[in-house]
Symmetry: C2
Subunit: 450 residues, 2 copies
Amino acid sequence: MSQPGVTAGRLAKAPENFLAPADIARVFAEGRGGRRDFIRRAFAVATAAGAPAALAATGDPVILQLPVHSKGLGLPVVTDGYGRPSKHEANVQRRLSPGLTQTTQASVSFAPLQSLFGIVTPSGLHFERHHQGWWDVEPSAHRLMINGSDDRIVRRPLVFTMDELMRLPPVSRFHFIECGANSGMEWGNVAVPTVQYTHGMLSCSEFTGVPLNLLLDMAGVDAKRGRFILAEGADGSSMTRTVPMALVDSGEVLVAYGQNGEMLRPENGYPLRLVVPGVQGVSWVKYLRRIEVGDQPYGTKDETLHYVDLMPDGLHRQYTSTQECKSVVTTPSGGQVLLEHGFHNISGLAWSGRGKVKRVDVSVDGGRHWRMARLESPVLSKCLTRFNIDWTWDGKPALVMSRATDETGHVQPSIRQLRAVRGTRSIYHNNAVQTWLVQENGEVSNVQLA
Amino acid sequence: MSQPGVTAGRLAKAPENFLAPADIARVFAEGRGGRRDFIRRAFAVATAAGAPAALAATGDPVILQLPVHSKGLGLPVVTDGYGRPSKHEANVQRRLSPGLTQTTQASVSFAPLQSLFGIVTPSGLHFERHHQGWWDVEPSAHRLMINGSDDRIVRRPLVFTMDELMRLPPVSRFHFIECGANSGMEWGNVAVPTVQYTHGMLSCSEFTGVPLNLLLDMAGVDAKRGRFILAEGADGSSMTRTVPMALVDSGEVLVAYGQNGEMLRPENGYPLRLVVPGVQGVSWVKYLRRIEVGDQPYGTKDETLHYVDLMPDGLHRQYTSTQECKSVVTTPSGGQVLLEHGFHNISGLAWSGRGKVKRVDVSVDGGRHWRMARLESPVLSKCLTRFNIDWTWDGKPALVMSRATDETGHVQPSIRQLRAVRGTRSIYHNNAVQTWLVQENGEVSNVQLA
């Protein structure tokens, strides 16, 4: 399973262009060319909001026309019983990568990480990965069956309706979900342009459901022989994945119906999916209709032919399911442009399939110097963690990187370190450090350091 | 400010109809009339999902037609770049209470708490409270001004664009927001029928923004004289509220642009609102355009005439802004029907404007016996906390209640205890225990115990 644990190295003295919080006010003021006379500018600009044409040509303070929203009667409540984002945010969408797949039903849409804050992914922007398209399944007709590979391994096979599942004791937990192929294009030196496409098969939600081990207890599983489960989806892709019983026994694996406070979205498996915290998304089987308990791994097509790692010696590694410690800077990131020198917050996401993120270090000089970022709370196990760090950009080219360490001590490797072990012919399980180049003109792009 | 601290009383021995987790399998099986022959039923029902007409009349196991979603090609990715809930969930909406207000612009919509899981409120279901309607404000024209009530109290008044604010160091935090008038109808023995209307002016989000104290530092506030701020919104309602500087100094008060990972929704103040954790929603000024620093409370209309507490002696209490410790059972709740005897999970929400929820006790017999519920993690300060507790309903009438205790020791009072101090003529700040009556026919309704 393991990618090489690499050492974080000594944290060098912070270079000059990292900023202490106490200096922010000074740098910010410098970046705007000083603050003299701003009370005059202030009133002019504040009152001009929405009515810029009314600015006095002299620049003198004048009382200007208020914008329409400060004078009129707005829209009523329940204009939309289920609300939508602002029309000004219409560009914040999940997107597919044209040509990445042969059909748009067996395809991917990427979450716009560059536009997101905090750790929750809005369900409307959650990445999609379908193997035979998505469905809006009728929940009253949906069933979940629990059975064994033979009559003795599950003594009381059961079939649940959604109503029956939703009456059982639920738990609610925040977890990330990442496709095993996330960042897969980077193996081959294809510098995908934006973080939406490099890392956007990643989302994070509060999931609500019933621990699978409760259902298995109800079904009377033979604890000695029941060492693996097979999860099976109801869509036409015959999606079936093996999950070791040790994970189920931990109580972490959920048969989930809730996501971010409401029912799962149809694109994400409504009305029922498996939640396997820390494990790649393909195991979180959507439209979940059946759990079979067996005494050995099932070796299905999606764990023997797909989602495997082609190693330099020509052999495939299978069942490398845990998503290792990883992070990425989302601001600034590829495709963005820094319009001004001066203060810029650097923000990003870190996560580990092994537990909690312990620390994130950030470099702006291609890894020569590192400084520890601030982690936003809460820091939860197998969940995204948001990090932020202050930076003032001096206008010179910068190489921006983040490197996460999890509570097991695993340090996110460089792409060079990862290739030394894994070679270059993989698709899946790339958790390498991502580098963004900020050019002198402010344009940010994806680069790979040799 | 304070509502009376009441004692929790001795926790009595659990009555028989509370269920230990180990008994769930037994009770569940009894509730469905036994589990014999279910493997036959199982295959019949599982394969019949979506094709019930094909059930064999004999009830014998037969291989039936698969549902269409198990055979066909589904919908492509990015069918909707910003996704929507399932069509089967169309009834889960925020709703207004007809006749509650004279116009629908100065009105309220309530969040459907009975349908929500966990602690995150989907932004599309976040409650609304507008004083003069909502607007989709153009963010590039929006400004935030920081000034003082005189020239010396703020030495460097500032005006920020949205771009400037979003470059500053942000924080992300989960907090509840509750309207001060939530549960207000209950003061007058008006038994509003559902939890959507009794408690639905309550939502919880991950907010992202800049701590206000950073902006005030940048503006050079006189720490001795600057003891209060006035927050002013840009909509036509002239919404202005005083916030004590002590709250701002704590770093908790945010100038927020992000909500649940994306930009604020227009109904919730896009592009900028104040976040004042633990304090009633009216202080979370939407479309925030100005912060003034002063040396005394401002006594605006919305803190002297509205959002005040009419006490039994005829005087008004003002500035009772903190939302005290409170909880409510959301399942089962008014308007729902229990269709079967047997196991039912009881679930609800607890919160406190003073900090973390420490415990929640649940009663099913009108407060004679209480038992401690399970709190879902994470338990965060000034944030909703989800609780769950097992229950098997024996078919007799039940009075279901929850009672929260926060980390300061404040115990949620009964409505009788609250009225003994506050009288019956209030509108705001009702944090009393809510009681739901489960009748023998399974119907659940809102009752007030004498």
